[in-house]
Amino acid sequence: MAAPTEIEPAAGPAAGPGERGGPPGARRGLLRYALAKLGGALLSVGMVVVATFFLFRLIPGDPAVAYTRDVPLTPDQLDLLRRQMGLDRPLPEQFLDFVLRALRGDLGTSYEYRRPVAELIGERLGPTLLLVGTGLVVAVTLGLWQGTRAAWNHGGRLDRFSTGISLTLWSVPTFWLGLLLLMVFAAGVGPVPGIFPTRGMEDVDAPDGPLYLLHVAHHLVLPCVTLVAVVYAQYLVVMRSSLLDEIGQDYVTTARAKGLRDAEVRRRHAVPNALLPTVTLVFLHIGLVVQGAVTTETVYSWPGLGLLFYEAIKGPDFAVMQGTFMVLCVAVIVMNTLADVLYHVLDPRVGSA
C-alpha cells in the first residue's frame, strides 16, 4: 500500500509505468509510444505468469493429495491423478504446459468447486467490476473535488479540516471500518436504524427491471462507502499538491493580476493542468482499490473476485488462488497501460491534438 505522499507528483507525469522517452509530439510518435507501452505491458504480464507458476510450485506438499483431500485413494489412483495433472513431467515441460493453458484461458480446476477456475472467475467478475468501478468513480470525484478546494484554501481551516479527515480515514484498516459500518448501519445501534442489507449484492426477492438496479444500489452503498473512505485520501493529497504546484506557476499569478476571477482561473487554467498527473496516479495506484475490494467483499459477502480469493486462501484452494492472483494482476497491468496511453492521447501538452 502506498502512502499518500506529496512526493509522488514530483515524479508526476513521469511516474507512469516504464520509461517515458521524451515528448512524442506527433501522431507517429504516439503510435510508437503506444507500441512500446504495449510491449512493456506484455512483459509485465509475462512476469506475472512466470512468478505465479514458480510461487505456487514452492508450496510444500503433493498437489495430487491436496486435490483429493480426505478421500482415501489407492496408490494406483494417485499415480493416475498425478499423470493427469502432469506432475510426473519435468518442470520446464510443466511450465510450458501452464503457459499454453493460460493462453487458452484454462486456469485449472478448483479443488473446492470441482469446476474450471476460469468459469468461477467469470461469474465473479461482474460484481467486482461494479464495486471497484463505482468505488473508483466516487473516490476520484470526491478526492479531486476536496483536493481542489483544499489547495485553493491552502493553509486555511478548510484545507486543514478536509486533509485531516481524509488522512485519518486513510489510516483506518478497511475491514475494521467495514465491520463498524455494518454494525451501525446494517444492524442498527441505538437510535440509528439498520437500513442497509447485511450481505451480498441481491436478495432472493430481488425485483425485476429498473427496480433491480435500485435493489443492487441499495446493497452497494455500504461496501462502496467503505472502499471510498479508505482510498480517496490519496487522490485528495495528490490533487492538492499538484494544484499547489500550478498555483505557484507564473501564469496563474499573471492571470489573477489580469483581474480574472479566482474561480475562473482555477477552472480554466490551474485545475486542468494539475489534473493530468493526478489522473495518471489514480490509475497507477488502481491496485490499491483492487486490494481494498478483497477486504470489503469479505466483510459484506459481496460475491466478487476478492471474496473468491479470500475463500481460496482459507481453503486453501491453490488452483483458484493462482487463477485469481493472475487475473487480478493482469487486470491492474491492463488498466495501467490503458491509462498511460490514454493520458498521452489526452494531454494537451504532449498529445496529438
Binding site: 467478475l125 447485511t198 426477492d205 485545475v271 469479505t298
Partner: protein, 607 residues
C-alpha cells in the same frame, strides 16, 4: 473538473453500470409476489459447491440434496435407526452378501415413475465412473454388483458383509434425466426446476447467493406445510447473525459459540442448543508406522510410552476447555469418539478406568517413569537424550483451535512438557498428520454419522499409509490386534444390540491406550425466529438437530407464518425503502455530478 476528468469518470461509471445488466440477466427468473406465501429463509455460512450430488461434499450441498432427492433409507425420526424411504422394505440373504430392496411406487417431479432402475443406474454410475466417485465413492467400494430385477426390486451384492448398507449416503437420481449427461465430473446440474422426488424441488440457484426450493406437491409423504424454502449464503458469520436479528433470515444452523451467545436476549429468537454429532480429540503420535510396520515420521519418542500419553490425558482440564474454548456449549468427554447423541453406541468411562484432570497425578506418573525435570522445568527422556519438547499441530484460520493450543501449552508446561504450536493449512495438515506423520500432538475431530463404522475404521492398521508413504485415511496411526478383531466382528454383526456392545468395547480400548484423547463433544447450536417459524421438529425428535443432521425431518416438518401482504413484503421494511433511496441518491448523485461537470466542460469548449 475538466473534459479529461469528466471523460474518464464517465467512462468508469459506464463500465460499472455495464456490469449491472450482466448480473441482472442471470436474475431474469419468474418472480411471483411473496404475499400470502409461507417462506422460510435459512442462512448458511457456506455456499453450495456443486448442485451435482455426485460431486458435492459441503454440508450445505448435501443437506439441500437430502431435501431434493430420496435415499434408499432415512434415519428414523426418533431412534435414528434406518427406516424406509425410497426402499419400502428390504431383506438380506443368509450369507449376508445379497440385499434385496423393494422400491416405493412414486413419481419424479416431472411425472415419470420412480423405479428400481433409477437406483441401479445411480449406484452403478458411482461404481463404474471415476468422475462420479467424488462425493460417495468409498460407500460403494465393497459392492460386487447392483441390478434391478424388475421395476420394483433392487438387488445389491457385496464382497464382504456390510453392516452400514442401510445408511448409504447416496441420493437416488432420475435415470431418464441423468443418463443423457456425458461427463459427470464436468456437469454442474444447473437446470431448473430440478427433477427430484424429495420433499422440496430446487427452482433457482444464484451462485454464491442463494438456492430457492419449492414444496414438492407430489411428495409421497404429502407436500411440506410451507411453500418455499430459501437457503441464503453468508461469508461473514457476524453478518448472518445480524441478518437473523433483523429478520432478513429466519434460521441459522451450525453456529459458533460466540455467535450463538450473541443471540441471547431477543424475545423472538429461539436459541437451539442440543447435543451435537461431532467429537473433538487430540491425536498423539504413538510411534507412527506404515501399513507394513515400517517406522515413518518424526514423532517424539516419549509419546510411544503409554504412560506419557496417559500423563498428558491427566493434565487436560476438559471442563475448563468446554467453558473457555466452547463458551460452555459442549459436553466434556469422558469417553471416546462417539458423541452422546448416539445413545446406542455411546460409551463413557467410569470408576478406575476414568482419567480425571489431575496434574499432580500426571507429574507422579512421569517422575515414576523416569522422566526427570531439568532446571528449566522441562523433563528429559529417561536415557537423558532428549527433552520433552513437543509440537502441537493445528489448522490455520481456526480461532477455537488457536485458543485450545494456548490452554494446552499452559497445562503441559505444568507437567514439564514444552509445547510449541504449528499452524498448518488443511492440505498440509492432512498430509502431516495422516500420511507423513510429521507431528507429535495434533488436533482432530470427526462428525459421526448415525452409523459410526467409518470413524472406527480410521483407527485400523490397514488405514495407515502405504510403504510409499501415501495416506490410507488413518486418524491416529493406531494399530492394535484386539481393536482389529473387534472391528471385524462388529462389521458382520447384523444384530444391532450385539454390534453396539462390540463398538463400546472398541471405544474403551481407544480410551485407555490413548492414541487419541477425546476432549469434548461440541453442542449443535442454532437459532431461529419464533415469530416466523411456528413449528419445527428436530432429528432425533427428543432434543435433536435442526440443520445439518441426517435426513429431511426438520425441514419437512417446518411450519411458518405467511408473509404479510403489502408493499414492504419480503422482509423489507420502511428502513429498506429509505436505504434504497439513499443508495439511489449516492449512485445518481455521483452520475449527475459527473454529467453536470461534463456539460459545463463542454460549454467551456465552446467559448
Amino acid at each position: 473538473m475538466t473534459r479529461l476528468g469528466a471523460r474518464l469518470a464517465a467512462l468508469g461509471l459506464a463500465l460499472s453500470l455495464a456490469a449491472l445488466p450482466a448480473t441482472s440477466a442471470q436474475a431474469q427468473v419468474l418472480r411471483e409476489p411473496a404475499e400470502g406465501k409461507r417462506i422460510v429463509r435459512l442462512g448458511a455460512i457456506q455456499a453450495i459447491d456443486s448442485m451435482n450430488p455426485f460431486l458435492a461434499v459441503r454440508v450445505v450441498s448435501t443437506s439441500v440434496h437430502r431435501w431434493m432427492y430420496a435415499y434408499l433409507t432415512t434415519p428414523d425420526s426418533k431412534t435414528l435407526a434406518p427406516s424406509p424411504d425410497l426402499a419400502e422394505s428390504w431383506e438380506t440373504s443368509a450369507d449376508k452378501l445379497t440385499w434385496t430392496f423393494k422400491i416405493r411406487d412414486t413419481k419424479w417431479s416431472d411425472g415419470a415413475p420412480v423405479t428400481a432402475h433409477d437406483a441401479a443406474w445411480t449406484l452403478n454410475k458411482i461404481m463404474t465412473d471415476d468422475g462420479a466417485k467424488t462425493a460417495n465413492g468409498p460407500a460403494v467400494e465393497n459392492f460386487a454388483s447392483v441390478t434391478a430385477s424388475d421395476d420394483r426390486t433392487l438387488v445389491i451384492t457385496t464382497r464382504k458383509p456390510q453392516a452400514s448398507m442401510l445408511e448409504l449416503p447416496i441420493p437416488i437420481m432420475p435415470r431418464h434425466v441423468w443418463e443423457k449427461v456425458g461427463d459427470i465430473a464436468g456437469f454442474e446440474a444447473e437446470q431448473y426446476p430440478a427433477v427430484g422426488n424429495g420433499p422440496y424441488i430446487a427452482v433457482e440457484h444464484k451462485k454464491n447467493a442463494y438456492v430457492k426450493l419449492k414444496a414438492n406437491p407430489g411428495y409421497w409423504r404429502g407436500a411440506p406445510k410451507i411453500d418455499e424454502l430459501h437457503v441464503i449464503f453468508y461469508e461473514n458469520p457476524e453478518a448472518a447473525n445480524v441478518g437473523l436479528k433483523k429478520g432478513d433470515i429466519d434460521w441459522i444452523g451450525r453456529l459458533a459459540g460466540p455467535h450463538f451467545e450473541a443471540l441471547a436476549g431477543d424475545p423472538d429468537i429461539v436459541q437451539w442448543n442440543t447435543q451435537g454429532r461431532r467429537a473433538s480429540y487430540l491425536q498423539l503420535n504413538p510411534g507412527a508406522a506404515t501399513a507394513d510396520g515400517e517406522e515413518i515420521g518424526d514423532g517424539h519418542p516419549a509419546l510411544k510410552d503409554p504412560k506419557v500419553r496417559q500423563a498428558i490425558h491427566h493434565a487436560i482440564d476438559k471442563q475448563a476447555l468446554v467453558e473457555q474454548v466452547q463458551n460452555g456449549l459442549a459436553v466434556p468427554a469422558d469417553g471416546s469418539i462417539v458423541p452422546p447423541m448416539y445413545k446406542d453406541f455411546f460409551w463413557q468411562a467410569e470408576g478406575d478406568v476414568r482419567v480425571a484432570f489431575d496434574p499432580a497425578r500426571a507429574n507422579e506418573i512421569l517422575d515414576d517413569a523416569g522422566y526427570r525435570k531439568g532446571a528449566d522445568g522441562i523433563r528429559t527422556m529417561p536415557d537423558g537424550n532428549r527433552k520433552l519438547e513437543m509440537r502441537f499441530s493445528i489448522h490455520t484460520e481456526d480461532p477455537v483451535e488457536d485458543k485450545l493450543a494456548q490452554f494446552l501449552t499452559g497445562w503441559l508446561k505444568d507437567i514439564g512438557i514444552g509445547l510449541t504450536t504449528r499452524k498448518l493449512d488443511s492440505n498440509k495438515f492432512t498430509e502431516e498428520t495422516g500420511s507423513t506423520a510429521l507431528y507429535d500432538i495434533a488436533i482432530s475431530g470427526w462428525s459421526v454419522n448415525p452409523d459410526p463404522e467409518e470413524v472406527f475404521a480410521t483407527h485400523l492398521c490397514s488405514r495407515r499409509p502405504t510403504a510409499a508413504g501415501e495416506g490410507g485415511g488413518t486418524e491416529s496411526f493406531y494399530c492394535d490386534e484386539e481393536y482389529e478383531r473387534l472391528y471385524q466382528a462388529q462389521l458382520v454383526e447384523l444384530d444391532r444390540a450385539k454390534r453396539a456392545e462390540l463398538i463400546r468395547r472398541m471405544q474403551q480400548k481407544l480410551y485407555t491406550d490413548a492414541p487419541v484423547i477425546a476432549l469434548y463433544y461440541p453442542n449443535n447450536l442454532e437459532g431461529y425466529r419464533s415469530d416466523r417459524i411456528t413449528s419445527i421438529t428436530p432429528i432425533p425428535e427428543d432434543k435433536g438437530i435442526l440443520y445439518g443432521g441426517s435426513g429431511y425431518w426438520p425441514v419437512y416438518s417446518l411450519q411458518a407464518v405467511a408473509t404479510p401482504a403489502g408493499p414492504a413484503a419480503g422482509g423489507s421494511s420502511a428502513g429498506a425503502v429509505i436505504g434504497i433511496v439513499a443508495g439511489a441518491v449516492v449512485v445518481l448523485g455521483a452520475g449527475g455530478y459527473l454529467l453536470a461537470r461534463r456539460r459545463r466542460a463542454a460549454a467551456d469548449d465552446r467559448e
